[in-house]
Protein backbone atom coordinates (compact mmCIF):
# COMPACT_ATOMS: atom_id res chain seq x y z
CA UNK A 1 0.00 0.00 0.00
CA UNK A 2 1.16 3.50 -0.80
CA UNK A 3 1.47 5.56 2.33
CA UNK A 4 -0.18 8.93 1.99
CA UNK A 5 1.64 11.62 3.86
CA UNK A 6 -0.57 14.14 5.61
CA UNK A 7 1.72 17.07 4.91
CA UNK A 8 2.64 17.66 1.27
CA UNK A 9 6.40 18.11 1.00
CA UNK A 10 7.17 21.61 -0.21
CA UNK A 11 9.96 22.11 -2.72
CA UNK A 12 10.66 25.57 -1.38
CA UNK A 13 10.19 27.25 1.96
CA UNK A 14 8.02 30.26 2.63
CA UNK A 15 9.82 33.06 4.40
CA UNK A 16 8.89 36.34 6.09
CA UNK A 17 9.18 39.45 3.92
CA UNK A 18 12.27 41.24 5.19
CA UNK A 19 12.58 45.05 5.13
CA UNK A 20 15.85 44.85 3.15
CA UNK A 21 17.47 42.54 0.58
CA UNK A 22 20.73 42.62 -1.40
CA UNK A 23 18.72 42.10 -4.57
CA UNK A 24 15.05 42.08 -5.49
CA UNK A 25 13.84 40.19 -8.55
CA UNK A 26 10.46 41.20 -9.97
CA UNK A 27 8.67 38.15 -11.35
CA UNK A 28 8.75 34.49 -10.37
CA UNK A 29 8.94 33.31 -13.96
CA UNK A 30 11.73 31.52 -15.76
CA UNK A 31 14.14 34.43 -15.98
CA UNK A 32 13.50 35.78 -12.49
CA UNK A 33 13.91 32.40 -10.79
CA UNK A 34 17.00 31.57 -12.87
CA UNK A 35 18.66 34.91 -12.06
CA UNK A 36 17.86 34.48 -8.35
CA UNK A 37 19.21 30.93 -8.38
CA UNK A 38 22.50 32.02 -9.95
CA UNK A 39 22.85 35.09 -7.71
CA UNK A 40 22.73 32.76 -4.71
CA UNK A 41 24.55 29.74 -6.11
CA UNK A 42 27.33 31.37 -8.17
CA UNK A 43 27.83 34.72 -6.52
CA UNK A 44 27.07 33.88 -2.90
CA UNK A 45 24.52 36.65 -2.60
CA UNK A 46 22.92 35.97 0.77
CA UNK A 47 19.75 37.99 0.69
CA UNK A 48 17.81 37.68 -2.55
CA UNK A 49 14.04 38.04 -2.85
CA UNK A 50 11.83 36.98 -5.76
CA UNK A 51 8.62 39.00 -5.73
CA UNK A 52 5.80 37.32 -7.65
CA UNK A 53 2.41 38.97 -8.11
CA UNK A 54 0.45 35.72 -8.51
CA UNK A 55 2.21 32.38 -8.10
CA UNK A 56 5.49 31.19 -9.59
CA UNK A 57 4.98 29.96 -13.13
CA UNK A 58 1.82 32.03 -13.62
CA UNK A 59 3.16 33.76 -16.75
CA UNK A 60 4.76 32.34 -19.86
CA UNK A 61 6.71 29.96 -17.60
CA UNK A 62 3.66 27.75 -17.09
CA UNK A 63 2.08 28.25 -20.51
CA UNK A 64 4.82 27.67 -23.06
CA UNK A 65 5.14 24.67 -25.34
CA UNK A 66 8.53 23.72 -23.90
CA UNK A 67 10.55 23.70 -27.12
CA UNK A 68 14.31 24.20 -26.76
CA UNK A 69 16.91 24.67 -29.49
CA UNK A 70 20.04 26.66 -30.27
CA UNK A 71 19.83 27.28 -34.02
CA UNK A 72 18.89 30.95 -33.89
CA UNK A 73 19.72 33.13 -36.90
CA UNK A 74 22.46 35.52 -35.85
CA UNK A 75 25.98 35.25 -34.44
CA UNK A 76 25.02 37.39 -31.44
CA UNK A 77 22.17 35.07 -30.46
CA UNK A 78 23.43 31.56 -31.23
CA UNK A 79 26.15 31.39 -28.51
CA UNK A 80 23.70 32.40 -25.76
CA UNK A 81 21.10 29.82 -26.84
CA UNK A 82 23.79 27.17 -27.28
CA UNK A 83 24.97 27.66 -23.74
CA UNK A 84 21.37 27.53 -22.49
CA UNK A 85 20.76 24.27 -24.37
CA UNK A 86 23.96 22.74 -23.01
CA UNK A 87 22.88 23.63 -19.47
CA UNK A 88 19.76 21.39 -19.22
CA UNK A 89 21.54 18.13 -18.35
CA UNK A 90 23.90 19.93 -15.97
CA UNK A 91 21.06 21.81 -14.26
CA UNK A 92 19.13 18.57 -13.85
CA UNK A 93 22.04 17.18 -11.85
CA UNK A 94 22.81 20.39 -10.00
CA UNK A 95 19.18 20.96 -8.94
CA UNK A 96 18.67 17.27 -8.21
CA UNK A 97 15.36 17.60 -10.02
CA UNK A 98 14.35 15.85 -13.23
CA UNK A 99 13.79 18.53 -15.88
CA UNK A 100 12.84 15.78 -18.35
CA UNK A 101 15.11 17.01 -21.14
CA UNK A 102 14.14 15.03 -24.23
CA UNK A 103 16.62 15.85 -27.00
CA UNK A 104 14.56 14.44 -29.85
CA UNK A 105 15.77 17.07 -32.33
CA UNK A 106 13.90 19.78 -34.23
CA UNK A 107 12.95 19.56 -37.90
CA UNK A 108 12.09 22.86 -39.55
CA UNK A 109 10.48 22.60 -42.99
CA UNK A 110 11.10 24.79 -46.04
CA UNK A 111 8.31 25.27 -48.57
CA UNK A 112 10.13 27.39 -51.16
CA UNK A 113 13.55 27.96 -52.72
CA UNK A 114 13.80 31.22 -50.77
CA UNK A 115 13.16 29.43 -47.48
CA UNK A 116 15.82 26.84 -48.32
CA UNK A 117 18.29 29.60 -49.10
CA UNK A 118 17.62 31.20 -45.71
CA UNK A 119 18.14 27.81 -44.05
CA UNK A 120 21.47 27.40 -45.81
CA UNK A 121 22.64 30.61 -44.13
CA UNK A 122 21.14 29.59 -40.80
CA UNK A 123 22.82 26.17 -40.79
CA UNK A 124 26.15 27.77 -41.75
CA UNK A 125 25.86 30.19 -38.81
CA UNK A 126 24.97 27.33 -36.47
CA UNK A 127 27.85 25.17 -37.65
CA UNK A 128 30.27 28.08 -37.33
CA UNK A 129 29.31 28.26 -33.64
CA UNK A 130 29.58 24.51 -33.14
CA UNK A 131 25.83 23.88 -33.14
CA UNK A 132 24.70 20.75 -34.98
CA UNK A 133 22.28 21.81 -37.73
CA UNK A 134 21.95 20.29 -41.23
CA UNK A 135 19.96 20.64 -44.41
CA UNK A 136 17.81 17.68 -45.43
CA UNK A 137 16.10 16.67 -48.68
CA UNK A 138 12.33 16.01 -48.62
CA UNK A 139 13.04 12.25 -48.64
CA UNK A 140 15.33 12.64 -45.62
CA UNK A 141 12.59 14.61 -43.84
CA UNK A 142 10.18 11.77 -44.53
CA UNK A 143 12.68 9.25 -43.20
CA UNK A 144 12.60 11.15 -39.89
CA UNK A 145 8.81 11.59 -39.86
CA UNK A 146 7.13 8.94 -42.07
CA UNK A 147 3.70 10.57 -41.60
CA UNK A 148 4.82 13.69 -43.53
CA UNK A 149 3.21 14.18 -46.94
CA UNK A 150 6.13 15.10 -49.25
CA UNK A 151 4.14 14.87 -52.50
CA UNK A 152 3.05 18.03 -54.29
CA UNK A 153 -0.53 17.62 -53.00
CA UNK A 154 -0.24 19.91 -49.91
CA UNK A 155 -0.93 23.61 -50.26
CA UNK A 156 2.75 24.24 -49.47
CA UNK A 157 4.82 21.29 -50.73
CA UNK A 158 8.02 20.47 -48.83
CA UNK A 159 11.24 21.66 -50.53
CA UNK A 160 13.58 20.48 -47.78
CA UNK A 161 14.26 20.83 -44.11
CA UNK A 162 16.73 21.93 -41.46
CA UNK A 163 17.41 19.33 -38.78
CA UNK A 164 18.85 20.29 -35.40
CA UNK A 165 19.49 17.04 -33.45
CA UNK A 166 20.45 18.47 -30.00
CA UNK A 167 17.21 20.43 -29.48
CA UNK A 168 13.91 19.09 -28.24
CA UNK A 169 11.62 19.43 -25.26
CA UNK A 170 12.14 20.20 -21.56
CA UNK A 171 9.33 19.94 -19.03
CA UNK A 172 8.48 23.60 -18.42
CA UNK A 173 6.83 23.22 -15.01
CA UNK A 174 9.79 21.19 -13.81
CA UNK A 175 12.10 24.09 -14.67
CA UNK A 176 10.01 26.43 -12.52
CA UNK A 177 9.86 23.97 -9.63
CA UNK A 178 13.50 22.92 -9.93
CA UNK A 179 14.81 26.49 -9.99
CA UNK A 180 12.55 27.45 -7.07
CA UNK A 181 13.78 24.42 -5.12
CA UNK A 182 17.44 25.22 -5.86
CA UNK A 183 17.05 28.93 -5.11
CA UNK A 184 15.21 28.33 -1.85
CA UNK A 185 17.79 25.79 -0.71
CA UNK A 186 20.44 28.49 -1.21
CA UNK A 187 18.57 31.04 0.86
CA UNK A 188 16.50 32.91 -1.74
CA UNK A 189 13.13 34.12 -0.42
CA UNK A 190 10.23 33.52 -2.81
CA UNK A 191 7.25 35.77 -2.06
CA UNK A 192 4.12 34.82 -3.96
CA UNK A 193 0.91 36.89 -3.96
CA UNK A 194 3.07 39.99 -3.72
CA UNK A 195 3.09 42.65 -6.43
CA UNK A 196 5.81 45.21 -7.04
CA UNK A 197 4.07 48.58 -7.17
CA UNK A 198 6.95 51.04 -7.17
CA UNK A 199 10.70 51.53 -7.47
CA UNK A 200 12.26 54.26 -5.33
CA UNK A 201 15.17 56.09 -6.89
CA UNK A 202 17.46 58.35 -4.87
CA UNK A 203 20.14 60.43 -6.60
CA UNK A 204 19.95 58.25 -9.72
CA UNK A 205 20.25 54.99 -7.80
CA UNK A 206 17.74 52.32 -6.85
CA UNK A 207 17.01 52.65 -3.14
CA UNK A 208 13.95 50.51 -2.54
CA UNK A 209 11.09 48.60 -4.06
CA UNK A 210 7.49 49.11 -3.00
CA UNK A 211 5.27 46.07 -2.88
CA UNK A 212 1.68 45.29 -1.99
CA UNK A 213 3.08 44.01 1.32
CA UNK A 214 5.38 46.86 2.14
CA UNK A 215 8.65 48.55 1.31
CA UNK A 216 11.89 46.67 0.70
CA UNK A 217 15.19 48.55 0.77
CA UNK A 218 17.59 47.25 -1.88
CA UNK A 219 20.46 48.54 -4.01
CA UNK A 220 19.52 46.45 -7.07
CA UNK A 221 16.38 45.28 -8.75
CA UNK A 222 15.82 43.06 -11.78
CA UNK A 223 12.74 43.61 -13.91
CA UNK A 224 11.92 40.07 -15.04
CA UNK A 225 8.16 40.53 -15.19
CA UNK A 226 7.89 38.86 -18.60
CA UNK A 227 5.11 40.27 -20.75
CA UNK A 228 4.33 42.79 -18.00
CA UNK A 229 7.91 44.10 -17.86
CA UNK A 230 7.46 46.81 -20.49
CA UNK A 231 4.32 48.31 -18.93
CA UNK A 232 6.00 48.11 -15.53
CA UNK A 233 9.14 49.92 -16.75
CA UNK A 234 6.98 52.67 -18.23
CA UNK A 235 4.70 52.90 -15.22
CA UNK A 236 7.36 52.78 -12.49
CA UNK A 237 10.38 54.45 -14.07
CA UNK A 238 9.08 56.17 -17.20
CA UNK A 239 11.31 53.91 -19.30
CA UNK A 240 9.69 53.08 -22.63
CA UNK A 241 10.72 49.91 -24.38
CA UNK A 242 10.40 48.78 -28.00
CA UNK A 243 8.04 45.97 -27.00
CA UNK A 244 4.59 44.91 -28.14
CA UNK A 245 2.61 42.44 -26.00
CA UNK A 246 0.62 39.88 -27.97
CA UNK A 247 -1.43 36.85 -26.97
CA UNK A 248 -0.05 33.56 -28.25
CA UNK A 249 -2.15 30.40 -28.33
CA UNK A 250 -1.39 26.70 -28.03
CA UNK A 251 -3.41 23.49 -27.89
CA UNK A 252 -3.13 19.71 -27.51
CA UNK A 253 -4.97 16.85 -29.23
CA UNK A 254 -6.22 13.65 -27.68
CA UNK A 255 -3.39 11.17 -26.94
CA UNK A 256 -2.25 9.05 -29.90
CA UNK A 257 0.18 6.20 -30.43
CA UNK A 258 3.73 7.43 -31.20
CA UNK A 259 3.91 8.96 -34.69
CA UNK A 260 5.96 12.14 -34.31
CA UNK A 261 9.46 11.52 -32.97
CA UNK A 262 10.79 15.06 -33.42
CA UNK A 263 9.68 18.63 -32.91
CA UNK A 264 8.42 19.78 -36.29
CA UNK A 265 7.93 23.37 -37.40
CA UNK A 266 7.00 25.20 -40.55
CA UNK A 267 7.18 28.91 -41.25
CA UNK A 268 5.02 28.47 -44.35
CA UNK A 269 2.13 26.96 -42.42
CA UNK A 270 2.95 29.04 -39.33
CA UNK A 271 2.88 26.02 -37.11
CA UNK A 272 4.96 23.85 -34.82
CA UNK A 273 4.09 20.55 -33.18
CA UNK A 274 5.54 17.75 -31.11
CA UNK A 275 4.16 14.63 -29.50
CA UNK A 276 4.26 14.72 -25.73
CA UNK A 277 5.28 11.74 -23.63
CA UNK A 278 1.54 11.22 -22.96
CA UNK A 279 0.93 10.95 -26.71
CA UNK A 280 -0.84 14.27 -27.29
CA UNK A 281 0.17 16.42 -30.25
CA UNK A 282 1.06 19.77 -28.68
CA UNK A 283 0.90 22.53 -31.25
CA UNK A 284 0.96 26.29 -31.49
CA UNK A 285 2.73 29.17 -33.19
CA UNK A 286 0.16 31.86 -33.71
CA UNK A 287 0.12 35.24 -32.11
CA UNK A 288 -2.81 37.59 -32.20
CA UNK A 289 -2.24 40.28 -34.80
CA UNK A 290 -2.73 43.10 -32.32
CA UNK A 291 -1.41 43.74 -28.81
CA UNK A 292 -3.62 42.71 -25.91
CA UNK A 293 -3.38 41.31 -22.40
CA UNK A 294 -6.38 38.94 -22.56
CA UNK A 295 -4.79 35.45 -22.77
CA UNK A 296 -8.03 34.44 -24.53
CA UNK A 297 -8.16 31.72 -27.18
CA UNK A 298 -10.12 31.97 -30.43
CA UNK A 299 -11.92 29.68 -32.87
CA UNK A 300 -10.01 31.44 -35.67
CA UNK A 301 -6.67 29.96 -34.58
CA UNK A 302 -8.03 26.54 -33.61
CA UNK A 303 -9.34 26.27 -37.17
CA UNK A 304 -6.06 27.49 -38.63
CA UNK A 305 -4.08 25.04 -36.53
CA UNK A 306 -6.30 22.10 -37.53
CA UNK A 307 -6.05 22.97 -41.25
CA UNK A 308 -2.28 23.39 -41.20
CA UNK A 309 -1.61 20.30 -39.10
CA UNK A 310 -3.75 17.99 -41.24
CA UNK A 311 -2.27 19.31 -44.47
CA UNK A 312 1.28 18.53 -43.26
CA UNK A 313 0.38 15.29 -41.46
CA UNK A 314 -2.78 13.93 -43.15
CA UNK A 315 -3.01 11.04 -40.67
CA UNK A 316 -4.19 13.59 -38.07
CA UNK A 317 -7.50 14.17 -39.88
CA UNK A 318 -10.39 13.53 -37.49
CA UNK A 319 -8.22 13.76 -34.37
CA UNK A 320 -9.75 16.00 -31.68
CA UNK A 321 -8.24 18.92 -29.81
CA UNK A 322 -8.68 18.37 -26.09
CA UNK A 323 -7.45 21.62 -24.59
CA UNK A 324 -6.43 25.08 -25.69
CA UNK A 325 -4.83 27.92 -23.75
CA UNK A 326 -2.89 31.12 -24.28
CA UNK A 327 -0.22 33.30 -22.75
CA UNK A 328 1.50 36.56 -23.56
CA UNK A 329 4.58 37.19 -25.68
CA UNK A 330 6.63 40.38 -25.30
CA UNK A 331 7.82 40.96 -28.85
CA UNK A 332 10.59 43.30 -29.97
CA UNK A 333 10.89 44.61 -33.56
CA UNK A 334 13.91 42.34 -34.24
CA UNK A 335 12.73 39.35 -32.18
CA UNK A 336 15.85 39.49 -30.04
CA UNK A 337 15.60 40.16 -26.29
CA UNK A 338 16.50 43.22 -24.23
CA UNK A 339 19.02 42.82 -21.42
CA UNK A 340 20.61 45.84 -19.83
CA UNK A 341 21.48 47.48 -16.55
CA UNK A 342 22.39 50.74 -14.79
CA UNK A 343 20.87 52.84 -17.56
CA UNK A 344 19.43 55.33 -16.84
CA UNK A 345 19.08 54.30 -13.18
CA UNK A 346 22.00 52.73 -11.27
CA UNK A 347 20.98 49.36 -9.84
CA UNK A 348 18.04 48.87 -12.22
CA UNK A 349 18.39 45.82 -14.48
CA UNK A 350 15.97 44.47 -17.04
CA UNK A 351 15.68 41.14 -18.83
CA UNK A 352 12.67 41.03 -21.14
CA UNK A 353 11.44 41.09 -24.74
CA UNK A 354 11.85 37.33 -25.08
CA UNK A 355 8.74 36.83 -27.16
CA UNK A 356 8.36 33.12 -27.67
CA UNK A 357 12.05 32.32 -27.09
CA UNK A 358 12.14 32.89 -23.33
CA UNK A 359 11.92 29.29 -22.22
CA UNK A 360 14.85 27.89 -24.20
CA UNK A 361 17.09 30.78 -23.14
CA UNK A 362 16.28 31.17 -19.45
CA UNK A 363 19.19 29.27 -17.92
CA UNK A 364 21.90 31.21 -19.76
CA UNK A 365 20.14 34.57 -19.45
CA UNK A 366 19.69 34.03 -15.70
CA UNK A 367 23.32 33.05 -15.30
CA UNK A 368 24.66 36.15 -17.06
CA UNK A 369 22.13 38.59 -15.59
CA UNK A 370 23.22 37.36 -12.14
CA UNK A 371 26.84 38.08 -13.09
CA UNK A 372 25.83 41.53 -14.41
CA UNK A 373 23.96 42.34 -11.18
CA UNK A 374 26.88 41.23 -9.01
CA UNK A 375 29.71 42.94 -10.83
CA UNK A 376 27.81 45.89 -12.26
CA UNK A 377 29.59 45.28 -15.57
CA UNK A 378 27.81 43.90 -18.61
CA UNK A 379 29.14 40.44 -19.54
CA UNK A 380 30.42 40.45 -23.12
CA UNK A 381 27.88 37.89 -24.30
CA UNK A 382 25.01 40.19 -23.24
CA UNK A 383 26.39 43.40 -24.74
CA UNK A 384 24.56 43.05 -28.10
CA UNK A 385 21.19 42.94 -26.33
CA UNK A 386 21.31 46.50 -25.03
CA UNK A 387 18.23 48.46 -26.14
CA UNK A 388 20.61 51.13 -27.49
CA UNK A 389 20.58 49.15 -30.73
CA UNK A 390 17.12 50.49 -31.52
CA UNK A 391 18.23 54.11 -31.22
CA UNK A 392 21.10 53.33 -33.60
CA UNK A 393 18.59 51.49 -35.78
CA UNK A 394 20.90 48.45 -35.75
CA UNK A 395 18.23 45.81 -35.37
CA UNK A 396 19.33 42.17 -35.15
CA UNK A 397 18.26 39.85 -37.92
CA UNK A 398 16.36 37.30 -35.87
CA UNK A 399 13.12 37.81 -37.78
CA UNK A 400 12.40 35.71 -40.84
CA UNK A 401 10.00 38.28 -42.23
CA UNK A 402 8.76 41.76 -41.43
CA UNK A 403 6.84 41.74 -38.17
CA UNK A 404 3.26 42.98 -38.41
CA UNK A 405 2.74 44.20 -34.84
CA UNK A 406 5.19 47.02 -35.30
CA UNK A 407 4.02 50.19 -36.97
CA UNK A 408 7.12 50.82 -39.06
CA UNK A 409 6.79 47.81 -41.36
Amino acid sequence: MLKRSTQPKRLWRSAPLKPAYDAVVIGGGLHGLAAAYFLASRHGMQDVAVIEKRYIGYGGAGRNTAIVRANQRTSENVPLYKEALDMWPRLTRELDFNLMFYNCGNLNLAHSEAALKAMRLQTATAQFHGVDSRLLTPAECKALIPALDITDRPKYPIFGGMFHPPGGIVRHDAVVWGLAKGASARGVHIHQDTAVTGIEVQRGKVAAVQTSRGRIATPRVLNAAGAYAAALADHLLDIRLPISVLTIQAMVTQPLKPLLDHVISSGGYHIYANQTLKGEIATGAHMDRWPNYTTGTSAYYIKHQAEALTDLLPCLQGVKFMRTWAGLADMTPDMAPIMSGNDPVQGYYQDCGWGYFGFKSCAAAGKYMAQYMTTGTCPEILAPFDPGRFAAHRLMGETAALVNYSADN
Binding site: A231, I243, R289, A299, A391, N404
Partner: protein, 85 residues
Protein backbone atom coordinates in the same frame (compact mmCIF):
# COMPACT_ATOMS: atom_id res chain seq x y z
CA UNK B 1 -8.84 36.71 -29.08
CA UNK B 2 -11.66 37.92 -31.27
CA UNK B 3 -12.11 41.58 -32.06
CA UNK B 4 -14.60 43.65 -34.04
CA UNK B 5 -13.73 47.12 -35.25
CA UNK B 6 -15.71 50.00 -36.70
CA UNK B 7 -14.26 51.13 -40.00
CA UNK B 8 -15.32 54.76 -40.62
CA UNK B 9 -16.21 53.81 -44.22
CA UNK B 10 -17.44 50.19 -44.00
CA UNK B 11 -18.88 50.05 -40.48
CA UNK B 12 -18.44 47.13 -38.06
CA UNK B 13 -16.21 44.36 -39.46
CA UNK B 14 -14.20 41.40 -38.15
CA UNK B 15 -10.87 42.42 -36.63
CA UNK B 16 -9.06 39.95 -38.88
CA UNK B 17 -9.77 42.23 -41.89
CA UNK B 18 -7.63 44.94 -40.32
CA UNK B 19 -3.97 45.57 -39.75
CA UNK B 20 -2.85 47.02 -36.43
CA UNK B 21 -0.84 50.21 -37.02
CA UNK B 22 0.69 50.90 -33.63
CA UNK B 23 -0.02 53.11 -30.66
CA UNK B 24 -1.06 56.65 -31.53
CA UNK B 25 2.05 58.69 -30.80
CA UNK B 26 0.87 61.96 -32.29
CA UNK B 27 2.08 63.51 -35.53
CA UNK B 28 5.15 62.19 -37.32
CA UNK B 29 8.22 64.23 -36.26
CA UNK B 30 9.35 66.86 -38.74
CA UNK B 31 12.45 65.62 -40.60
CA UNK B 32 14.24 68.87 -40.00
CA UNK B 33 15.87 68.99 -36.59
CA UNK B 34 14.43 65.64 -35.51
CA UNK B 35 16.73 63.94 -32.99
CA UNK B 36 17.55 60.23 -32.74
CA UNK B 37 15.61 60.07 -29.49
CA UNK B 38 12.55 61.51 -31.18
CA UNK B 39 12.69 59.01 -34.05
CA UNK B 40 13.34 56.14 -31.67
CA UNK B 41 10.26 57.04 -29.66
CA UNK B 42 8.14 57.48 -32.76
CA UNK B 43 9.29 54.31 -34.56
CA UNK B 44 9.81 51.81 -31.77
CA UNK B 45 8.94 52.75 -28.21
CA UNK B 46 5.57 51.75 -26.77
CA UNK B 47 3.71 52.40 -23.56
CA UNK B 48 2.01 48.99 -23.56
CA UNK B 49 -0.91 50.30 -21.53
CA UNK B 50 -3.04 47.68 -19.81
CA UNK B 51 -6.31 49.54 -20.34
CA UNK B 52 -7.66 52.01 -22.88
CA UNK B 53 -5.27 53.28 -25.54
CA UNK B 54 -5.69 55.16 -28.81
CA UNK B 55 -4.17 53.38 -31.78
CA UNK B 56 -3.94 53.27 -35.56
CA UNK B 57 -5.62 50.68 -37.74
CA UNK B 58 -5.86 50.10 -41.48
CA UNK B 59 -8.79 48.34 -43.14
CA UNK B 60 -6.34 46.23 -45.14
CA UNK B 61 -8.76 43.63 -46.56
CA UNK B 62 -11.46 46.25 -47.10
CA UNK B 63 -11.45 49.87 -48.19
CA UNK B 64 -7.81 50.53 -47.20
CA UNK B 65 -8.60 53.47 -44.92
CA UNK B 66 -6.28 54.37 -42.04
CA UNK B 67 -8.10 55.51 -38.91
CA UNK B 68 -7.76 55.73 -35.14
CA UNK B 69 -9.82 53.98 -32.48
CA UNK B 70 -9.71 53.57 -28.72
CA UNK B 71 -9.47 49.99 -27.51
CA UNK B 72 -9.18 48.42 -24.09
CA UNK B 73 -6.15 46.10 -24.28
CA UNK B 74 -7.41 44.11 -21.27
CA UNK B 75 -10.88 43.27 -22.65
CA UNK B 76 -9.87 43.59 -26.32
CA UNK B 77 -12.99 45.67 -27.09
CA UNK B 78 -13.24 48.92 -28.99
CA UNK B 79 -14.47 51.69 -26.70
CA UNK B 80 -15.86 55.16 -27.45
CA UNK B 81 -13.16 57.67 -28.29
CA UNK B 82 -11.65 59.36 -25.27
CA UNK B 83 -10.27 62.79 -26.10
CA UNK B 84 -7.96 63.04 -23.13
CA UNK B 85 -5.75 60.15 -24.26
Amino acid sequence: MALNLNCPICGPRSGYEFRFGGEDKGPRPAEEGATTALWLAYAHLNRNVAGVQREWWCHKDGCGTWFRVCRDTVTNCEVPTVDTL
